[in-house]
Symmetry: C2
Subunit: 462 residues, 2 copies
């Protein structure tokens, strides 16, 4: 039995899968400042029109251009691996498979969308992309993609991460990107904040504002902004993960998985693996699909489904999603990629439909799972990924208790080699758990009542 199932490049999917085509009820539209659905044109100063078309598309399959495939070949297709040593350790009858997205040069699933975004921008005549990054996963993925495609790249990195996590910044520099600490002196948004709070550690919200401002104020019209999660076209590009996994499970002789698991911050790695299986579930397959989030930032498990801004600076359209409120600032856990107040509207509508069952975990349990994985499979995962592993272990133990030979599939979204300080904090007993109090959730979500209500369109047959 092979423990790694490899596809050939020639077997890679030639189309992305668009879940919007199959959801019983489509996601609610984003709303503009006037409370009315925005038109594609209104996004044109921020994104190129070819990506906006993907954003609003309801076509089921969207062709992947040959040139993008050529760029993805640098690391795709990624291996599907069977965690035989973890299975043995747990004594479970379940078969545990994981899609190893850590093999990309930046070390995560992020380049799956960074590459197409850079390519479509270049096709549209754009010369330069701006973006924000927190811990640096997304910034380094876009830096990589821009270098491969031939675009300039400007990254606004939250100052506290810029200072504390120099390695990600150095990766970006190696790929020729210009990474600055945010708030910076380069934008009005940055200068205003610096004047008020010269010692601010920065925030993702501020960094987004700076990146968008620099994109829309470039008079040449050759600069656009790029976002690494949340949006529909990002979820679309990531579906290559699940489409590959399906082919690989078939090669392994397995049936449709019983359980599909991914960690979810903005939702992209989880959607990438799970959306092709959501299609199977809509068609009648019996699959439990589990997005996992931290208890300290329990968007899907505790937040209301409401219209809210995507950023703290209130510059984006209003999106219908589970949210803890745009003003909520998650505690500084090590899983930086899961610190987001909202969630992909496509993922949220899928939850509303009852097609997914979100779950939240404490970080100590997640680090324990990460150490178990490193001790059995030998791989050191990203702190975000540890949430998927914790849920996988729980499901494998449940399968053991039930005596069922379940197929469990999870997304190994990234490695933890740039995040070892989190392991250090855990191993030296410096970490603790934190549950977001219900009063806090109420405080931050109460103001959302000023926005139009987000009706829960739910078919409810699952």
């Amino acid at each position: 039995m092979e423990t790694k199932i490899q596809l050939k490049e020639s077997d890679m999917p030639r189309q992305w899968y668009n879940l919007a085509a199959d959801l019983p009820n489509p996601p609610l539209p984003p709303l503009g400042p006037d409370g009315k659905p925005i038109s594609p044109d209104m996004l044109a100063p921020v994104f190129p029109m070819n990506l906006i078309e993907q954003e609003v598309s309801t076509e089921r399959w969207i062709n992947i251009p040959e040139e993008i495939l050529g760029l993805l070949y640098r690391w795709r297709p990624t291996p599907l691996k069977r965690a035989v040593n973890l299975e043995k350790h747990l004594g479970t009858p379940a078969k545990i498979y994981f899609k190893d997205e850590s093999v990309s040069p930046p070390g995560s699933h992020k380049p799956n969308t960074a590459i197409p975004q850079a390519w479509y921008n270049k096709q549209f005549g754009i010369k330069r992309l701006t973006t924000e990054t927190g811990a640096g996963q997304w910034g380094s993925a876009l830096a990589f993609a821009c270098k491969m495609v031939g675009l300039e790249c400007k990254v606004f990195m939250v100052r506290i991460s810029f200072d504390q996590k120099p390695f990600r910044k150095l990766m970006m520099a190696t790929w020729g990107a210009n990474c600055v600490a945010s708030p910076s002196n380069e934008t009005n948004a940055g200068r205003t904040i610096l004047k008020e709070m010269p010692d601010t550690p920065g925030s993702l919200g501020i960094a987004i504002s700076e990146a968008i401002e620099q994109a829309v104020t470039d008079k040449s019209g050759k600069t656009r902004y790029s976002l690494g999660s949340v949006l529909n076209h990002v979820m679309l590009h990531q579906t290559i993960i699940g489409l590959e996994a399906k082919k690989q499970l078939k090669i392994a002789g397995e049936k449709t998985p019983d359980v599909v698991i991914g960690c979810a911050g903005g939702g992209s790695n989880f959607a990438g693996l799970s959306f092709p299986f959501v299609a199977d579930k809509i068609a009648g397959a019996d699959i439990e699909i589990i997005p996992v989030e931290p208890k300290s930032c329990p968007t899907m498990t505790k937040g209301p489904f409401a219209y809210d801004f995507g950023d703290t600076a209130c510059t984006t359209p209003l999106m219908a999603m589970y949210t803890l409120g745009h003003a909520f600032i998650p505690p500084p856990i090590h899983a930086g990629g899961l610190r987001y107040h909202g969630m992909s509207p496509l993922v949220c509508q899928t939850i509303v439909e009852g097609l997914m069952t979100p779950r939240a975990y404490h970080q100590l349990k997640c680090y324990e799972a990460a150490i178990t994985f490193a001790s059995t499979e030998g791989m050191i995962c990203a702190p975000e990924t540890s949430h998927a592993i914790a849920a996988t272990i729980d499901e494998a133990i449940k399968a053991k208790e039930e005596g069922k030979e379940k197929i469990i599939l999870f997304n190994y979204s990234g490695h933890g080699l740039m995040d070892l300080t989190g392991y250090d904090a855990y191993l030296s007993g410096k970490l603790s758990d934190y549950s977001l109090p219900d009063d806090d959730i109420k405080k931050y979500t109460e103001p959302l009542k000023q926005f139009p209500p987000a009706e829960k369109h739910k078919t409810g047959k699952w």
Copy 2:
């Protein structure tokens, strides 16, 4: 055309290749303190007998136990990749292939020997391994292997690296190893040094002395020492790289490569790729085989072939090799893995036979090559690996000038994600080149004349 050639686990080599069986003249024997060849028994306090048997074996093929194969499956077989983007960038008619050894959990080729060494020790009833590490590549590989096999692991890490490179130490901790700064208070060797020089930055020589002392003084007899390069059994375990590469080139429809390249510090990644091709060359194939070293530590290109100690503390047997003298301390270049005064005796005998043509490069040229590789193939290599890439680029340009469609194969021995400070130093113009002056070489190698002369057994038909 596929740019990545994958083997199945079932296609992995089932035997290691022992070059000692085919070399026209065998390497000279290691000598004891009395100047006479040492017997296997004399190594028994340091290594387990099953590894000593491999060390002295002249069998051509040595079976890989099934259990070791099972452990190697965690990341092997590794992909053979074609650097199509680098080829295009250089405009060369050459086809450039590289074996990607960076996909192992510790990020380099080192676990190829760490896993078998840990397994053979466990078979022999050993409970605990000790070793030394400089920058941390080897220490983290042995920590990983011991965790996978079920042994305790103790690593003495050179103090300056321990303080300056915390990430490698955290990897070791994640795999449960005990890593201490050397010199430590745990050994006589360490205490003596600390008393004389309390502020010493440490050295590999001191760390080796501490690791060996702790192994041989354990009264339970259950501790042994492990070395990550130089020795014959280490080269043997690494040959899985070249054996896989041969099968993969065949799948790709290629003939025997024209040029085989690897960086060489102690010699193990280079030997691993090249030895199976040395066998072809002995059998008549026309292959240029190039070990690449730094000009600041030019062991093979400037050192005499002489008997010398393997460590600065003079605790090992005398080995016949190219050497800059055991007292020579290489300058602190970023390619820490290439800072070794000596070289694998098996590699050295192969050079003596004229079967290899060593080459030395300056570090600025190597970093330039690393940036070119990151900008085309997207991968950020280890500073050591950049030496192989620099030579590969030179060979590809030469092929262009000659108008020949050569097959060039090099070993991508490791990724550079833990070494980004070196890139930072290069990109910010803080690095410079350094050639070791001939007078220095003379000074450090003059004392070797006190040892028995190392006769150059050379057939010379290549």
